[in-house]
Amino acid sequence: MASILILLLGFLVSGGIGAGAYFSPALTTALGVFHSGPVTLISGATPPPPPLVGAVAAGAPFTILLLGSDNDQKFATVDGAPVDPSATLTQSMILVRVQPATKQVTMLSIPRDLYVPFSLGGTSKIDEVHALPGGGDKASIDTVEMNFHIHIDYYIWIGLQGLISVIDKVGGIDVVTTNPVLDDAYPADLVGNNPYGFQRVAVLPGPQHMTGYQAMEYVRSRHSDARGDFGRSQRQQEVLLALRAKAKYLNATDIPDLASAFAGQLTTDMSITQVRELLPLAGSLSPSGIKQVTLVGGDAQLGSYTTAQVTSAGADVLIPNWSAILPLVHQDFPVA
């Protein structure tokens, strides 16, 4: 009898080792990405804000700030001197409100040129707060909270290469591109030796299957678009929705592959348990349950959401009309 028990235990242990080996890449990445472990994805990166475990009850609505940045070492040195590698502008800032009970999601893109006061002091384009000394993810969160009068429960930061890798790991995404996206001044920082060089981009219109690199060209291009940064914000939301559509086919056994794509390219203050709980929700959302908001145009009574202006320093900025923006934002994001 004892021999049989030992035999069974042996098989149990060997099976466990097999499963452990399979999921070990995911575990390693999780320890690096999620708040339960050390967050040391990018050497010298600013630590994320303290974890907010328990701040959101299971099933309760919550707000996430999605941040997308360059992290191509373009800013690794200035005049030969090394600088903080986390000193990157945010190419993308999207507020997401998730209501698990009603399976509704609202995505609101914050224009990168929005001219706002920073939590650290000073006023400039909102994408710059991430790159300031002492900035990073926390300053971005604080600045958004301060200006939009909302509470952010979690944040997720992803680098350009991370987005490319994730899209490739899920086998590409299907997108209906809204128009020909042509750009003669697209940064050639992911190819070649000159991070300050330019390349040309031509994303043709209509339904198509995109690789990670093609999707990156689509969401990152920002010239020759009559809608300016609003057009880019809209494209970023389209790609997120396409990723969500693909994510609904994922199994738990896909996680190790995905984890390898995230390595060094993702930081968040969510716990792995919270992410795991989000995945089924992402798969169960219907397109009608997803609301996309950009600060383009305005309110009939309250006026335009933003006004384009050039600062005395020559920077193109968008001056926010908070009396029009805040009522729009607070329709879906509660006042803090």
Binding site: G172, P205, P207, D225, A226, R227, T253
Partner: protein, 362 residues
């Protein structure tokens, strides 16, 4: 009697094998979302379509004849094959910062380069490079294309306009359309029998949203007439061989509809939705007008496969509902014809959905 040490050894080997088996089993239960597409030449179509189709996948051009694929020439970032009146192909070769049109023979060998869009200035600004896409040749040998050669290199605006040139003299380039600035411009030209041009024009609507319309221009530089409403967001026009019907793709959020309309040369008549609830793209008429092929995903990979939609009407059963109407024109006074369900022609391939297939009758 088997010795105990041998039994222990067998048990240990079995345990190791079990552990490895668990590892491999977990790998086998992964989703199929990133399954690599097959090469067309390693597959057969589910049924044979009459004539020969030309399609693009992964930088290669392929012909599909009698259910079998043949690779044409060498893979080289080829897209958007189109037929010439004498049976050759025109295709786009996409390079890093520019693209050019080439004439190929039926086996895919390069006959000649038709455009030269790489900057002649070594090390110059990339703005001196140009794109040419969407080639199509009219029966009289005039080639139409979308091209950004009218751009200024001194600002950011880059838009496609439709241009044409006689195949015999590729340098005699003529501009047909004037794009709306910084919208992407005018694409997907379709020459008409009357010497006019159908094409897709991109614009912004009152809500600052990107929209597209099917336009008709009577002659070069003539103001185009919109045949569809911008809010219907229609594109990818494909005229039937007798030019009495128009197939097009109309957007429906992050899905599309394949819409069939009658057309009298100057206006669109009755319309009906043929395909919805998927990402239909790049409709192409059968040479005899009996149906259409289009590209759309078929499984969780999201890769675009070839589909066939017969346009030979069937008598609807009493329980069958009439298809939706009027995305592009006036209301149908009576129920539109019913057509058989579309049939999937290919499996496990990954066609470029921005490349409209070309279809030769032979």
């Amino acid at each position: 009697m088997i010795p105990r040490w041998a039994l222990r050894l067998v048990a240990m080997v079995a345990m190791v094998a079990f552990g490895l088996g668990v590892y491999h089993y977990l790998g086998l239960t992964k989703s199929k979302i990133n399954k690599t597409a097959s090469k067309p030449t390693s597959t057969k179509s589910t049924f044979a379509l009459a004539g020969t189709l030309f399609l693009a996948q992964g930088g290669g051009l392929y012909s599909l004849h009698d259910g079998s694929f043949t690779e044409l020439g060498r893979p080289a970032d080829w897209i958007q094959p189109s037929l010439t009146p004498d049976g050759n192909l025109i295709a786009v070769k996409k390079e890093f910062n520019y693209s050019d049109l080439y004439e190929l023979d039926a086996k895919g060998n390069v006959v000649r380069q038709l455009t030269h869009n790489q900057s002649p200035y070594e090390g110059s600004d990339v703005g001196y490079d140009y794109w040419s896409y969407y080639p199509v040749v009219a029966p009289d040998g005039t080639l139409f294309m979308s091209d950004d050669r009218a751009k200024s290199i001194y600002d950011y605006a880059v838009d496609f306009a439709v241009w044409s040139f006689p195949m015999a003299t590729p340098t005699a380039v003529r501009q047909w359309t004037t794009p709306n600035v910084e919208t992407g411009g005018d694409v997907q030209p379709n020459p008409t029998k009357s010497g006019g041009l159908l094409y897709t024009k991109y614009d912004l609507d009152a809500d600052n949203k990107n929209v597209s319309s099917i336009m008709l221009a009577a002659s070069p530089e003539a103001a185009g007439k919109a045949l569809t409403d911008p809010e219907q967001d229609c594109s990818q026009p494909a005229l039937s061989p007798d030019q009495s019907r128009l197939a097009m793709i109309c957007a429906n959020g992050q899905q599309t509809q394949l819409v069939l309309s009658t057309i009298n040369g100057a206006a669109i008549g009755t319309s009906q939705v043929l395909i919805s609830g998927t990402l239909a793209a790049s409709p192409t008429w059968a040479p005899d007008g009996s149906g259409l092929v289009y590209l759309a995903p078929a499984d969780q990979t999201g890769h675009f496969q070839l589909w066939w939609q017969s346009l030979v009407a069937v008598t609807p059963s009493p329980t069958e509902k009439a298809l939706a109407t009027t995305p592009g024109g006036s209301s149908a006074p009576s129920s539109p014809p019913s057509y058989p369900a579309p049939k999937q022609v290919t499996h496990d391939l990954d066609f470029d959905a921005t490349s409209r297939p070309a279809w030769s009758p032979t």
